[in-house]
């Protein structure tokens, strides 16, 4: 039997890796990947706990919603990244410190 703690540990590791990527990466796509990693860590949490909710399936439902939301987020984020690149010729989030006119 796989314990919940094991899942939580894995999800914590994934979350921290994603966090590291968000904070340190100088490439917006990698930052995006970091966000996805964190999301996945969170989803893993919910999925793991949903094992103990057979009737309502709350964890799995919100995992599904989160996945869909992540897809939407990624689509918009990529569009934004491309536009930012057209505007600034860079996708380093540290360099983009000016508002477009």
């Amino acid at each position: 039997m796989i314990s919940l703690t094991d899942f939580l540990v894995v999800s914590a590791v994934l979350f921290c890796v994603g966090l590291y990527m968000i904070v340190s990466k100088q490439n917006a796509i990698q930052v995006l990947i970091g966000i996805e990693l964190m999301l996945n860590g969170a989803i893993l949490n919910m999925v793991a706990f949903s094992k103990y909710d057979r009737i309502n399936n709350g964890g799995q439902m919100f995992a599904l919603f989160a996945i869909v939301l992540a897809a939407a987020t990624t689509a918009v984020a990529l569009a934004i990244i491309l536009n930012v690149y057209k505007q600034y010729k860079t996708i380093d989030p540290g360099s983009i410190n000016k508002l477009g006119d």
């Binding site: 966090l19 968000i22 904070v23 340190s24 930052v31 989030p93 540290g94 983009i96 410190n97 000016k98």
Partner: protein, 699 residues
């Protein structure tokens, strides 16, 4: 009658003012005439002096020997209780000097127009000359000591200007400085004397002080030499007592004496006069031979009543010494003008000596005659020098045109000049039929009379006076022989030189003839042998002067003149041979004479050098001590300021800067969280979350 006299007086005063102010007007006109070499200036000055001359002749005829004193004055300013007046005083002495100055100035002006015609400073020359005439005329007519002092200074100043006329020459500048400094010494003396007189008598008025019924005369008659408690005299206020100690009276005398010595080039202060010959020769003729140097004697004449016996003796001794010393120096000089300058000093010495022995009228008589013949001699010298300069310039030689060793034989080229020089020279020697005879013999005779019965020591004065006469004869003949007889010395050195020289035009001839006429006896006396018959002597005769006595009247002139003739013959014999230096140049006496008795050296060594050293010492004192103190104060102030600045900069500003830096660094630190870097925001946020986590975990 009184009204009539009043009217005449008023007219006379007006004439006098016109005569004095005309040269000033000429000076002012010349100042505004454009250019540096405008012939109009010469005419302006000459016409001014001509009118002045006519006016002064008129005044002279009205005032001379009438016994009537023309004196008019106006209130000038008030100091305390003393009212100072400005006015004109005309008595025999003033009008005589007024006429004399004009009579000498007129030919000099005419002569100058020719003499200076090629000079670049023609305008300036005539401006200065007119200014000098104004000062001198003012000097002789003013009626109080303040104005007298002003005029005295102006005379000195214009003399300074004219000596340094060629101010680009170093020697001229040195000479005018020397003259000015020497004259300053005299001026201080005069000022001191004036102040002492004022402090005692509370008036500057010359007439009240020294006139016929004056305070001083009253005092001196009453008790000669001690100025106190006058009992008589028309100007004195009864009951008012004046008192002055002997010592202060003597100080006043010393002051007057210094003034006289400076202006008239007497013994201690005489050295400026030979140097003053750096000025144009016409200036030397007018100022340094005839008029300005006579101002000293004139001053003696003005203040004569104030001297006592001892003081008069001092005057006599100094005058005699000066006369003798200058005559010996003149023996060996080679510069034409220097010889004449020393001769002038010598003759001025005669005048001062005459004042000292009480021959008041003879002294002034000699002053007048000397003015004529000395001016004549200087004008002759000017012509000779000009011609020598012509020779030099025509033949491009390198010679000194004033050196008599280069001259000779000019008699044939310049006959008129020669005759004028001869008359002037004989008058200077004092041979009969000349004016010089009349005046000089007067002095000599009175000197013998004066010394009689006073002991053998006093005999030295007439003895030296006579010796001086013979020396005069010798150097005059030396001069004339060297210049006019024999052949031109230059031919020996430069055989091929061309000579285009002559007497010059009418502007040279007229003054010479005029002055030569003035040097002959008929102008002053119809009896060529007796000075006492001269109108001038009578005009000046003062009560109390010794009357002539028969014996000296015969012995002295005859003895003196016979020996003079012998000296003349000897001198002619010696110098007609044309040897350059007939006497040994190494003897002690010769060197003493040639070096002018070493006066300049002595003054330089014992006065100029110590004064300069003192000046340097005081300068150093000033620089080191006084300036040093001021500097140290300044440094202290600066150090204080620096300390304050340091405090301000590093403590007060530092405190502010510290606050600023803290604020800035906080700002900089905080700014980084708002730098627009999204990741930084996230990072900060996560850090805060982390901290909260850790804190909640731990607590």
């Amino acid at each position: 009658m009184n009204n009539f006299l009043q009217a005449i007086d008023t007219l006379t005063i007006k004439f006098t003012l016109a005569a004095v102010l005309l040269p000033l007007l000429a000076f002012l006109i010349n100042l505004v005439i454009p250019g540096k070499h405008n012939k109009i200036t010469g005419w302006v000055s000459t016409l001014a002096i001509l009118f002045s001359c006519v006016l002064s002749a008129t005044i002279f005829s009205k005032v001379w020997n009438t016994g009537h004193l023309v004196h008019q004055q106006f209130a000038w300013f008030t100091v305390g209780e003393t009212q100072a007046y400005v006015g004109v005083l005309l008595n025999n002495l003033s009008v005589l000097m007024l006429l004399l100055v004009n009579l000498i100035a007129l030919p000099v002006h005419i002569y100058s127009m020719a003499y200076m015609k090629d000079d670049a400073g023609y305008n300036r020359y005539f401006s200065f000359l007119s200014f000098f005439c104004f000062s001198m005329l003012a000097l002789v007519v003013v009626d109080n000591l303040v104005l007298f002092y002003i005029a005295w200074e102006l005379v000195g100043f214009s003399s300074y200007l004219l000596i340094g006329f060629w101010f680009s020459r170093h020697k001229a500048v040195q000479a005018n400085k020397k003259a000015f400094i020497m004259n300053r010494i005299g001026d201080i003396g005069l000022l001191t004397a004036i102040l002492i007189i004022y402090a005692t008598f509370h008036t500057f008025d010359i007439n009240i002080l020294f006139g016929d019924h004056s305070i001083i005369k009253a005092i001196t008659v009453y008790n000669r030499g001690e100025w106190y408690s006058p009992l008589t005299g028309s100007f004195t206020i009864p009951g008012v007592s004046y008192h002055l100690d002997d010592i202060w009276q003597f100080v006043a005398f010393i002051g007057i004496f210094l003034a006289v010595a400076a202006k008239s080039a007497q013994f201690p202060l005489h050295t400026w006069l030979p140097d003053a010959m750096e000025g144009p020769t016409s200036v030397s003729a007018l100022i340094h031979a005839a008029t300005m140097v006579a101002a000293g004697v004139f001053l003696l004449g003005r203040v004569y009543p104030m001297f006592n016996g001892i003081e008069l003796n001092i005057l006599a001794i100094v005058g005699c010494f000066t006369a003798f010393m200058a005559a010996t120096v003149a023996l060996t000089q080679n510069d034409l003008k220097r010889i004449l300058a020393y001769s002038t000093i010598s003759q001025l010495g005669y005048m001062v000596m005459a004042m000292g022995i009480g021959a008041y009228s003879s002294s002034l008589f000699h002053l007048v005659t000397h003015a004529f013949f000395k001016c004549l001699l200087f004008l002759v010298a000017g012509i000779v020098i000009h011609q020598m300069a012509h020779i030099r310039d025509d033949n491009k030689l390198d010679i000194d045109p004033q050196n008599i060793q280069n001259m000779g034989g000019l008699r044939k080229k310049m006959p008129l000049t020669f005759i004028a020089a001869l008359i002037g020279g004989l008058a200077l020697i004092g041979l009969p039929f000349t004016s010089g005879y009349l005046s000089k013999d007067g002095i000599l005779i009175q000197a013998f009379q004066w010394s009689q019965g006073k002991g053998w020591l006093f005999m030295l004065i007439p003895a030296f006076a006579i010796l001086t006469t013979w020396l005069t004869a010798f150097y005059v003949i030396r001069l004339i022989t060297k210049v006019f007889f024999g052949d031109l010395k230059l031919r020996e050195r430069f055989p091929n030189i061309k000579l285009h020289i002559g007497d010059g035009g009418w502007r040279y001839a007229v003054p010479l003839l005029f002055l030569a006429a003035g040097s002959l006896f008929p102008v002053f006396s119809f009896n060529p042998f007796s000075y006492e018959h001269s109108w001038l002597y009578h005009g000046m005769f003062q009560t109390g002067a010794t009357a002539g006595e028969g014996l000296f009247h015969v012995i002295v002139p005859v003895g003196v003149n016979i020996f003079s003739v012998l000296v003349i013959y000897a001198a002619y014999r010696i110098y007609a041979k044309q040897k350059t230096n007939p006497f040994s140049q190494t003897s002690m006496l010769y060197r003493l004479s040639a070096n002018e008795w070493y006066f300049d050296e002595i003054y330089k060594k014992y006065i100029v050098v110590p004064v300069l050293a003192m000046g340097r010492a005081t300068f150093r004192l000033d620089r080191r001590v006084i300036d040093g103190f001021i500097h140290s104060v300044a440094y202290a102030g600066m150090a204080l300021a620096k300390a304050a600045m340091w405090t301000d900069r590093y403590i007060i500003d530092g405190f502010l800067n510290l606050i600023v830096a803290v604020v800035q660094s906080i700002g900089n630190f905080a700014r980084r969280f708002q730098g627009g870097k999204v990741q930084y925001y996230i990072y900060s946020m996560l850090v805060v979350i982390l901290v909260i986590f850790i804190l909640t975990t731990l607590i």
